[in-house]
């Protein structure tokens, strides 16, 4: 008895330590230059959102009445006035507004995609894997949710629960996973007929484990790339929801709201009102897409 145990311990010592696919992926991700640069820049943007308000003496809701309505003449960005990004038409410091907008938009983008990844992947994988009636019912629910006018659901939420930032995230989360679940289901339908899934079945692996250990890792590539595509869509959805009144209201703002304001004033010579939020938005999207592609390369189970 004792001998046996000892032998087992010794065997375990000798046996090459198996590399988990996640450790493998981490190592490969760290080698990908584009993805690492993306991650670095994105961290800077997050730091900017978190601590940027300490860099300026103005708050996002402070109104300089001397500058109100004269953004084009007096509000241009300048170091000397302390308005690094200039002021907007309401006489507010644009730097402080961009910092505050970054917080809302990053949260909306990341939470929306996270919900899509978790719920969308599991829902789609279960639907495709179980198949038959379950699949039909689950996908018809998605069809209905895809078609129900989003705007009315939001208005109803607003009426029932009032405006709050949590309702905003609930509203985003409710719809962000729909397309993802359809994509994942399609991939699962094709994956579940493969030989390695059959082998897992034959060796008696339970369905839940097959989904989590064999189906989901093989879906990661498409899931990660689509999630990175969802980030800008979620940021725009946030501004639409806020426009309807469920999300944040002025003077609180977000990239989407700033962008649409800036775009509508493009011709009045206040181009910085468009270019600063656009710059942050586009930079974030570039980071997301390089991180997404880096993760895809790192997580591809066939590519070693």
């Amino acid at each position: 008895m004792f001998m046996k145990e000892e032998a087992a311990v010794r065997l375990a010592d000798i046996a090459v330590k198996g590399r988990s696919p996640w450790a493998d992926a981490r190592a490969r991700f760290a080698r990908n230059k584009g993805a690492m640069v993306g991650l670095f820049v994105l961290s800077l943007i997050c730091l900017f959102a978190a601590f940027g308000s300490h860099l300026t003496e103005f708050t996002y809701d402070y109104v300089d009445f001397g500058l109100m309505g004269e953004a084009a003449e007096k509000g241009a960005p300048s170091w000397s006035s302390g308005h690094y990004f200039g002021t907007d038409d309401g006489g507010r410091d644009f730097f402080a507004r961009v910092v505050q907008a970054s917080q809302i938009s990053l949260a909306a983008g990341l939470i929306g995609s996270a919900v899509a990844v978790i719920i969308g992947t599991l829902y789609g994988a279960i639907s495709g894997f179980v198949g038959g009636r379950t699949d039909q019912v689950m996908m018809r629910i998605v069809d209905i949710l895809l078609s129900v006018p989003f705007m009315f659901v939001i208005i109803l939420l607003l009426v029932m629960f009032g405006r709050s930032i949590w309702m905003l995230f609930l509203g985003i989360g409710m719809f962000s996973w729909l397309d993802m679940s359809r994509i994942v289901r399609g991939q699962t339908l094709s994956l579940k007929r493969r030989e390695f899934i059959e082998a897992a079945h034959a060796t008696g692996v339970s369905s839940g484990r097959i989904i989590l250990r064999h189906i989901v890792p093989n879906l990661m590539g498409v899931v990660v790339v689509y999630a990175s595509l969802l980030v800008p869509i979620m940021i725009m959805t946030e501004s639409f929801i806020s426009f309807l009144g469920l999300g944040v209201q002025a003077p609180l703002t977000s990239w989407g709201a700033l962008l649409s304001e800036g775009a509508s004033q493009m011709r009045y010579g206040t181009l910085w009102l468009l270019l600063f939020p656009l710059g942050f938005f586009v930079t974030t999207m570039f980071c997301m897409s390089f991180i997404g592609d880096g993760l895809r390369d790192a997580l591809d189970p066939k590519d070693r």
Partner: protein
């Protein structure tokens, strides 16, 4: 397969009913109605208006009447705001416009997106790949409410090549900017999904075999790799196609194309519930139909798939 398609079409009936009922109830629950206005309307006038449109009946009766109107006469009721127009007329006027620029955008987005994605995947981790991904990211990140006025600024105000808006029965020069504005971000998404899926397929054993037995690369890509790589793209294209042919609010607003996106926004702002319901049902029917098409395409791409 025929049985499957038939079964799915049968299933569409309860799904549509459910969608109609949910949408109807949602709109009923939303505050305010088409006849709510700033100035006080005499109670008798309001009662008469409600009676005329059947809004004084119990809720289940209203739903039943609405569904019966659609099933029996394909009649989506009168518009609440435009007294002389029915919902059918509003949709019949806007939908052909939307369908035209939507289809054109779809074709362009798919061809450009798939090409870009395949090229990027083939040149994985080279300058060409990075350039393709960067182009796609920039195109995807550019919100269309920024792109639309930018296009007008460049092509209409500076260069003077294209008219700034209007439709004129879908003449080419009126279509160019709406199609660019609508297709850009879809093209970018298609490119990114194609690239990622193509990379995965290119690493599979059957592609290695095809290359090893000496098939020319062009044939390997077009005959062996492209078809399985299209799986996730097609999943994405189902809902995306519906979104494109039912129009974009932004495009309709910036280019005054008069499509259905505009009707939907007008209806929402005026609380014209019957028009909103009509558009919702149109979108729902198309969604169900094209998700069926997607499922059929799955089975064509991967014959192992069974439903």
């Amino acid at each position: 397969m025929t049985t499957y398609i038939f079964k799915r079409l049968l299933e569409a009936i309860p799904t549509m009913l459910l969608l109609i009922i949910i949408s109807f109830l949602l709109m009923h629950a939303a505050p305010g109605g088409p006849f709510t206005s700033e100035k006080a309307v005499p109670a008798q006038v309001l009662a008469n208006l409600n009676a005329k449109y059947g809004l004084d009946q119990p809720l289940w009766r209203q739903v039943a009447n609405y569904v019966w109107g659609i099933v029996a006469h394909f009649d989506f009721g009168p518009s609440f705001i435009y007294k002389d127009r029915t919902v059918n007329e509003v949709i019949a006027q806007g939908f052909p416009v939307t369908l035209q620029y939507g289809l054109a955008s779809f074709v362009i987005a798919v061809i450009a997106g798939v090409t870009l994605g395949v090229v990027a995947a083939l040149k994985h981790n080279t300058g060409i790949d990075y350039a393709a991904v960067a182009t796609a990211t920039a195109a995807h990140a550019m919100p269309n409410f920024v792109l639309a006025p930018l296009l007008v600024l460049v092509f209409t105000l500076w260069l003077g090549w294209l008219p700034g808006g209007g439709w004129e029965g879908g003449e080419l020069k009126y279509m160019v900017m709406p199609v660019i504005a609508l297709s850009t971000s879809f093209m970018a998404s298609i490119a990114r999904i194609t690239r990622s899926s193509m990379l995965e397929v290119l690493h599979s054993n059957f592609i290695r075999t095809a290359v090893a037995k000496g098939l020319p690369m062009r044939k390997v890509i077009l005959k062996h790799a492209l078809k399985p790589a299209m799986m996730p793209v097609i999943s994405y294209l189902g809902p995306a196609f519906v979104t494109m042919i039912t129009g974009s609010v932004i495009v309709d607003m910036y280019f005054s194309t008069g499509g259905i996106g505009r009707s939907f926004v007008d209806a929402a702002l005026n609380r014209d519930y019957s028009v909103m319901l009509g558009v919702t049902i149109l979108v729902g029917a198309l969604t169900i139909l094209f998700n069926l098409v997607v499922d059929i395409l799955y089975a064509w791409i991967d014959p192992r798939i069974r439903y």
